[in-house]
């Protein structure tokens, strides 16, 4: 059980939660996640640790509504308890020090960059947060990321803020030396299509690139194998070996296919929740 201390609606479907979780806050490192459950009989869902505050003994998470459980989470508010929060899970991100790191964030992925960028900037790396969304209102945590990154680059599909177009377009410009310049390391967190596009953009340039994979998970401790991702032709458990992997080694086709394995059931569950008075 973990108490929600405060919340902030970031977009109509994205909400930030600050949660009282002393043990998780103490142990958390960038790139790790928690698994949470909101009700008896509820699913266990993985959510990235966006930020942690060891002194305040809290973690921050950002949840984007896509189905039943994320919708149930986002109905909670300050003072409510999250039934189960376990973590930190996964292997923390390792990036060699001293380079220019570009963090590409799409959707809730921008949140996952928060503690990472803070840590990298603090140790002296040059950092660029490259954030993308369909339109200006859907960009999240821009001010927070400005505070912890050397540069922030915004991209919107409709041109309502920052560069007009996809993050990969701007990334190509950086690689070509524009703006904050060519990255030494790239880490992409967001929808799989975006991460795959980033991988393709950096592959010919052989720029070290990490992606944070988000397969279906159950236990998050290496016990079920449901989170298998093919990396360099080998089967890896994302919850313990990942979730961050070398983008150029990940088989995205298999990952995307596996992510849809329960599409029919998820739809059924969403309809049921809607019928029961949900959104």
């Amino acid at each position: 059980m973990a108490k929600i201390l405060s919340t902030r609606q970031l977009t109509p479907i994205t909400k930030l939660f600050v949660v009282d979780a002393p043990l998780v806050a103490e142990a958390a490192r960038p790139g790790q996640f928690v698994i949470l459950r909101v009700r008896e009989g509820g699913e266990r869902i993985p959510v990235t640790i966006a930020d942690y505050d060891r002194a305040a003994r809290t973690i921050a998470i950002v949840v984007q509504e896509v189905g039943v459980t994320t919708r149930l989470v986002n109905r909670l508010g300050a003072g409510d308890d999250i039934l189960d929060v376990v973590g930190p899970l996964g292997t923390p991100v390792e990036i060699p020090a001293g380079g220019h790191v570009v963090g590409v964030g799409g959707g809730f992925g921008a949140a996952a960059l928060l503690c990472l960028m803070r840590e990298l900037t603090a140790r002296g790396d040059r950092t660029t947060s490259l954030l993308g969304a369909r339109t200006k209102e859907l960009l999240i945590l821009v001010d927070e990321l400005r505070a912890v990154s050397t540069n922030v680059e915004l991209c919107t599909d409709d041109g309502s803020a920052g560069h007009h177009g996809l993050v990969t377009g701007r990334l190509a410009e950086l690689i070509a030396g524009q703006g904050p310049g060519r990255p030494d390391h790239v880490i992409a967190i967001g929808p799989e299509v975006m991460m795959r596009a980033v991988a393709e953009a950096t592959r010919p340039e052989r720029i070290h690139t990490l992606v944070s994979m988000d397969p279906l998970m159950i236990d998050g401790t290496g016990m079920c194998g449901g989170c298998r991702v093919i990396v360099g032709g080998e089967s890896k458990f994302a919850c313990v070996d990942g979730p961050c992997f070398d983008a150029h080694q990940v088989d995205f086709t298999v990952a995307m296919r596996r992510g849809k394995a329960y599409a029919a059931e998820e739809k059924l569950a969403a309809e049921r929740l809607a019928a029961a008075g949900g959104r």
Binding site: V24, G42, D84, M223, E265, A269
Partner: protein, 463 residues
């Protein structure tokens, strides 16, 4: 007076056609008359060899004697002196290779139904409502990692001896394999819940959602004031076949399948939120208890055909005899001497079949079991839409990787003293599957109990 009767008193079971489609318990349990009738078969041997077959040395003839005399309170008391989980072990022990294998009645006749009687006594005890309390007589507290049978029994023994105990469990509910692995139709969760409630009544604190090695480093437990640590983290890491096509949709480990069903209650989806998908035709690879549980669960979820695919024969199968018999009655198909070589899928990435090869048995291998050898030209595809892999598990490396000074062998099993459970790290003890690799509930319970006594000895040496 003992009465010589050749046959075991049969366990009442629900009809296969009825039970194969729900999760109600298969075995119904003896009533008092049957139990007393069966208890009369025990010869009360001077030298009860059955006891040697029991890893925790239950005084078998003594408790059975009380059953025959109708004193179930005394019988339960005797059971509890040796086994803290009698209702569970009576149900899931592989009796045919343990106590009952040794029973002298088994020479000419059928052995005494020790397991059934143990279950009976424990069920009666539970129905009466046991009130167990423990008094805290020692200031030291002990941390237990993992709430499977090893950890729970260790915790219970320590509490009984007057120590403070906290059990840290990574999942959201305690029980280990008893919770997420063994299905309801074999071991009702109410029994597990009861055993856990008894522990809690004795003052054992159970904290879920803590993964030691991630949430808390093991060494932190000492800083937090625990005087000793018991590691009962089990062997939960699933092995896969490593054949082409294993990443197709519709292929999963038995652990994933059983966890979705048992821990997450997926069999009630969409009542519960976690879905579990089962096709029309299911192949389960392997022939241990896990495979039997998976294949019988698949039938209960509505599979039209569920097949065990195993590269050896029924002689080498490791499942309990009773599970095998029940599986046959329920209509499970057995493809013995059949080895999978590829999972076949369609253009959408879903499984359509399992390509296999027939085997014959050759010379014994290192494990002493006949080695299966492929028969050339015997390749064939079994049409299935779900493949469940149940070929074994190994200890989860998470705790060891994040803890200094914990030695493991080449299988990843913790190195621990057999008698005490002491690991290579001072005041850290271990037992159960984490030490032995996948074994049995009673072995895990026994190891937990031995370690509890070794811990007590280490903390408060008898003067």
């Amino acid at each position: 007076m003992p009465v010589k009767r050749a046959d075991k008193t049969p366990m009442p079971v629900r009809l296969p056609e009825e039970r194969a489609h729900d999760f109600g318990e298969v075995n119904e349990g003896y009533a008092l008359e049957r139990a007393m009738f069966e208890a009369e078969r025990c010869l009360r041997c001077q030298d009860p060899v059955c006891v040697e077959g029991c890893p925790v040395r239950i005084p078998i003839s003594d408790f059975i004697h009380e059953v025959a005399a109708g004193d179930l309170v005394a019988a339960a008391r005797i059971l509890r002196t040796a086994n803290p989980l009698p209702a569970i072990c009576g149900r899931v022990c592989p009796q045919e290779t343990q106590c009952e294998e040794r029973c002298v009645m088994g020479g000419r006749f059928r052995p005494v139904a020790i397991g059934h009687l143990e279950r009976f006594v424990a069920d009666q005890e539970r129905a009466r409502g046991i009130s167990t309390t423990a008094e805290r007589t020692h200031s030291e507290k002990v941390a237990v990692i993992g709430a499977g049978p090893a950890g729970l029994v260790c915790a219970g023994e320590l509490a009984r001896m007057g120590y403070g105990v906290t059990v840290y469990e990574g999942l959201h509910a305690p029980g280990g394999v008893l919770r997420y692995g063994i299905p309801e139709f074999r071991l009702p969760k109410a029994i597990l819940d009861h055993e856990i409630a008894v522990l809690q009544a004795m003052g054992v604190e159970i904290v879920c959602d803590v993964i030691v090695g991630r949430t808390l480093p093991l060494d932190r437990l000492f800083e937090m004031g625990y005087a000793a640590v018991f590691v009962g983290t089990g062997a939960g890491l699933p092995q896969f076949l490593g054949i082409p096509g294993e990443d197709l949709n519709g292929v999963m480990s038995a652990n994933e399948f059983l966890t979705r069903v048992n821990l997450m209650k997926g069999y009630t989806f969409p009542e519960a939120d976690t879905p579990v998908k089962i096709g029309k035709r299911v192949a389960v690879v392997g022939a241990g208890n896990t495979a039997m549980d998976a294949v019988r669960t698949a039938l209960r979820l509505g599979a039209e055909e569920a097949t065990i695919v195993y590269r050896r024969s029924d002689k080498e199968m490791t499942a309990r005899v009773e599970e095998h018999e029940h599986a046959i009655q329920e209509g499970v198909v057995f493809d013995w001497l059949t080895s999978p070589i590829e999972v076949v899928g369609d253009e959408t990435g879903w499984v359509t079949g399992l390509r296999c090869q027939k085997m014959r048995l050759g010379e014994p291998d290192a494990s002493g079991r006949a080695r299966p050898v492929p028969i050339p030209g015997s390749e064939h595809v079994i049409p299935v839409d779900t493949v469940i892999v149940a070929i074994g598990t190994s200890p989860n490396p998470l705790l060891v990787r994040t803890t200094k000074g914990l030695q493991t062998d080449r299988h990843g099993c913790l190195v621990a003293n057999e008698a005490t459970g002491l690991t290579s790290k001072p005041l850290v003890f271990a037992g159960g599957d984490a030490v032995t690799g996948t074994a049995t509930v009673i072995l895990a319970a026994g190891a937990g109990k031995r370690a509890a006594h070794a811990i007590a000895e280490a903390l408060s040496p008898a003067a």
